[in-house]
């Protein structure tokens, strides 16, 4: 039997430890290998069926991948995304400001809008706007109580493209306003008070103190909305807008190559979302709440405050 070495402390002997440098090993358990085996089996099965099932018609997929019709559709999809995202964000900003107003009628109106547009499916909204002429066949735009007015034929202006942009924008505005409002809510009351006690006007306070601090909450969420919107635009194909999906459908309506063309469309959507997710994840790393703070380079020095968490927003505003 080993004689256990002891060290005597004031309250009695304790076993002493010899410092030895040895590797520590955590043994792999069966479930680690099983997880790998199952995952490999699933992926292999998917690849196998994709290669051996000739009905996928991969040659057809590749031959249509860059045809003019598909590329035009791609362009329409991108334009729709940009237009409805841009307009939706602007309108969302207005709605967010209204929603935060201390005047009850103003905030109530914004609340009503948001509830309505978030509470009904965007597909229904799109079809609704396309058929709005059934409700209001003629609008007249003019100055109230004067004779100056221009009649507008709603049927003529509400083309599928207009309906698509209007529908997606109005819907997006409701979501964006909530994101923007959340950004403002994330800035503490004390920041407003500090700016006000320095005598800053409302505009200066927002521009230099509050808005820069809302960005970490708003920008990553907006990036997600862009990616979501890109896919959401495929809904406009029901209106006959020649977007990516509708272009693919137009081709397979003639050639009956349904599956290969849906694959073409899917691959393009996938490529676009992957391309967008690169800047998105960069932005997220810079701004997102969970990674908002990081260690300073001076973390090892003994200086007071070194090694504390720092927000990564590094721009100096002055």
């Amino acid at each position: 039997m080993d004689v256990i070495e002891t060290t005597t402390t004031r309250s009695g002997p304790v076993p002493s430890i010899r410092a030895e440098e040895k590797k520590r090993i955590t043994p792999k358990r069966p479930r680690d290998y099983v997880a790998w085996a199952v995952a490999i089996a699933i992926v292999a099965g998917l690849v196998w069926t994709a290669v051996t099932n000739e009905k996928y018609r991969w040659p057809v997929v590749f031959s249509y991948f860059t045809t003019q019709t598909i590329l035009n559709g791609l362009l329409v999809t991108l334009l729709l995304t940009a237009a409805s995202m841009g307009l939706g964000t602007l309108m969302g900003l207005v709605l967010a400001v209204m929603r935060m107003s201390h005047q009850r009628p103003v905030s109530g109106l914004a609340q009503l809008y948001i509830t309505f547009f978030r509470g009904t499916p965007v597909l229904v909204q799109l079809v609704f706007w396309f058929n709005i002429a059934a409700l209001y066949p003629n609008l007249s735009i003019g100055i109230p109580f004067t004779d100056i007015s221009t009649p507008v034929n709603v049927n003529a202006i509400m083309t599928p493209m207009t309906a698509a942009i209007v529908g997606l924008t109005l819907n997006q505005a409701a979501y964006m306003s909530e994101i923007i409002r959340g950004g403002f809510a994330s800035v503490s009351r004390g920041q407003h008070e500090a700016a006000e006690s320095l005598g800053m006007s409302g505009f200066t306070k927002l521009r230099h103190v509050i808005i820069p601090q809302t960005m970490p909450a708003i920008i990553p969420a907006t990036g997600n909305q862009v990616i979501g919107m890109l896919k959401e635009t495929s809904l406009v194909s029901v209106l006959g807008v020649a977007d990516l999906l509708q272009s693919a459908q137009a081709i397979y309506a003639r050639t009956y190559q349904t599956i290969p063309l849906l694959i073409v469309a899917s691959l393009w959507y996938l490529i676009m979302t992957l391309v967008l997710s690169v800047p998105q994840s960069m932005i997220e790393r810079r701004f997102s709440r969970s990674t908002r703070t990081r260690l300073t380079p001076a973390a090892t020095s003994a200086e007071p405050g070194a090694g504390q968490l720092v927000p990564p927003t590094r721009e100096s505003l002055l």
Partner: protein, 255 residues
């Protein structure tokens, strides 16, 4: 007489809903005087301070800061609230230091100090930067100008906050429990800066729990409880020999 640096309040009343937090408060602070407001939490001390720079509005009573009606104008037998622009001008002459520092986290220490003069007083940026460096040096933080608030300790942040308020060249400095959120070992450095300031003749009104500091630096002490100004007088006198029962009970508990 130059009324700069004076605060006069008569019968100030303030309620939050049904809860009356200030009941007929009288307060006089002469130029260059240092006054401390003490009392248990919820007694209305912070609210009183916040009324003096317009972070809260007063329901009733008269408030004159720097000799001017603060936040309202008297017209036709009534007090009319002033426009936001005028209120901002009046506030710019009053420095405020918060319990939670409230530095702008998106700006460096130097930019925080410059923010008032540059953004509000529209002064020359280069001159303001120089002045900011001087102010940071005067609170013992030369060389910390490029750091962001999150890189500074609580005591350092509070000293930057004091420098930021001083950059506006205020006639009055208000302190709302400036050391309550600090580690005990950081309290001293902030009090040292405040002691310097007091020595330079700045009018100061502070809400504090630092009784030793109050005894050492303050000219006057106001003890508040449940929205009432219970006792007011010479700082050393009130702290050593309080006349009122409630003051005695409070001081026994905190000293």
């Amino acid at each position: 007489m130059n009324p700069d640096g004076t605060i006069v309040a008569r019968k100030l009343c303030k309620s939050f809903g049904r809860h009356q937090v200030l009941r007929d408060i009288d307060l006089t602070v002469a130029a260059g005087e240092i006054s401390c407001i003490i009392g248990p939490s919820g007694s209305g001390k912070s609210t009183l301070l916040r009324c003096i720079n317009g972070l809260e509005t007063v329901d009733r009573g008269v408030l004159k800061v720097n000799g001017e009606d603060f936040g309202y104008v008297e017209k036709d037998d009534a007090y009319h609230a002033v426009r936001p622009k005028r209120l901002a001008e009046q506030r710019a002459r009053i420095g405020m230091v918060f319990q939670q520092f409230n530095l702008f986290p998106n700006m460096t220490a130097e930019s925080n100090v410059m923010s008032g003069p540059v953004l509000v007083q529209k002064k020359d940026r280069v001159a303001c930067r120089e002045r900011a460096q001087e102010l940071l040096a005067s609170v013992g933080l030369s060389g910390c100008g490029h750091k962001y608030p999150a890189q500074l300790s609580g005591g350092q942040q509070q000293r930057v906050a004091i420098a930021r308020a001083l950059a506006m060249e205020p006639t009055i400095m208000l302190f709302d429990e400036p050391t309550s959120a600090l580690d005990p070992e950081r309290v001293g450095e902030v009090l040292a800066v405040m002691r310097d300031l007091a020595g330079n003749g700045m009018t100061m009104l502070l809400v504090t729990h630092e009784m030793a500091f109050a005894r050492e630096v303050a000219d006057e002490v106001l003890f508040m409880d449940e929205g009432i100004a219970v006792e007011r007088g010479d700082a050393r006198e009130v702290l050593a020999n309080p006349r009122e029962k409630r003051t005695q009970a409070f001081l026994e508990r905190v000293l």
